[in-house]
Subunit: 167 residues, 2 copies
């Protein structure tokens, strides 16, 4: 049963190469970018200002094919894929909580971006602490990561990118 998704916009980011990109928004050091929403959907942005953060759901368009065991960035040994946030997944849907700086018409200016330039946006949801924040939730093997890595390399990506920037 194949299901079809269509991009509702595009993410513009200074991150052109997976290598060196932050692996999560919390490691992005405030990196800023823009989320451009296609015109038919711009009206749906009403009332979004006032939220500090938004969830971006996006298509990891440069990810390699999924494998069920991977060595994640934060470890030195293999883990089950679904116990990791690796971008190579059977459905390569990424999930990032970014800070919303301001909205200009159909463009969201955001910070804490960990997403590659040109990534298709699938959905946008407000971050609601009552629904989404569980500070004491036990984080499994990530309670004691075996690798301190905060930047990606190309292990989950198919295609070589442009030369690595200083990011």
């Amino acid at each position: 049963m194949p299901l079809i998704v269509r991009p509702i916009g595009m993410i513009h980011s200074p991150l052109e190469d997976p290598a060196g990109a932050p692996i999560q928004p919390v490691y992005a050091d405030g990196l800023t970018g823009a989320v451009e929403i296609l015109e038919p959907f711009a009206e749906g942005l009403a009332d979004l200002e006032g939220f500090d953060r938004v969830w971006l759901l996006y298509w990891c368009h440069r990810s390699a094919e999924a494998r069920m065991r991977v060595v994640p960035y934060r470890d030195t040994r293999q883990r089950g894929l679904f116990a990791t946030r690796a971008p190579s997944r059977p459905n390569p849907i990424g999930l990032s909580c970014v800070r919303l700086l301001r909205i200009e018409r159909n463009v969201l200016h955001v910070a804490d971006l960990d997403i590659l330039d040109g990534t298709p946006l699938l959905d946008l949801k407000p971050y609601v602490p009552e629904f989404d924040s569980f500070p004491d939730s036990r984080p499994g093997w990530l309670a004691r990561p075996n690798a301190p890595r905060r930047r990606a390399d190309r292990r989950f990506h198919d295609r070589p990118g442009p030369p690595q920037t200083s990011a």
Copy 2:
């Protein structure tokens, strides 16, 4: 540019009708169910035990067509769709943080379920407070919801369901 997603499993839930279903996991009063992963993907569940919570990404298969202005369950006036968590979206991808009780082979037993029975699962990610928990993030209009509703009705659903159960 259409993109194709394929279910990696199915969600089994006592919730058969949108009407009366909790609108978020935090309002589900611990409701339990099972997430069945298709065999080719079962190996990817390794190391997931140890996480208290998991994100489920799923296809809201019974949602109506998206409109860009909606009256959300927690309000009495129209809001921009992307400032709400309504299930009728251009790409009807649902996001729920549920409690992981235990894993038996390819089946996750979970609690705090707000998802309808038979919903196709698209992805499964570990909940990591360092990445996902922002307790002080301002929740826009949801700081003062105009309606106390914690249960859904059929406003975002196309098809009539079976008679409403006691849920």
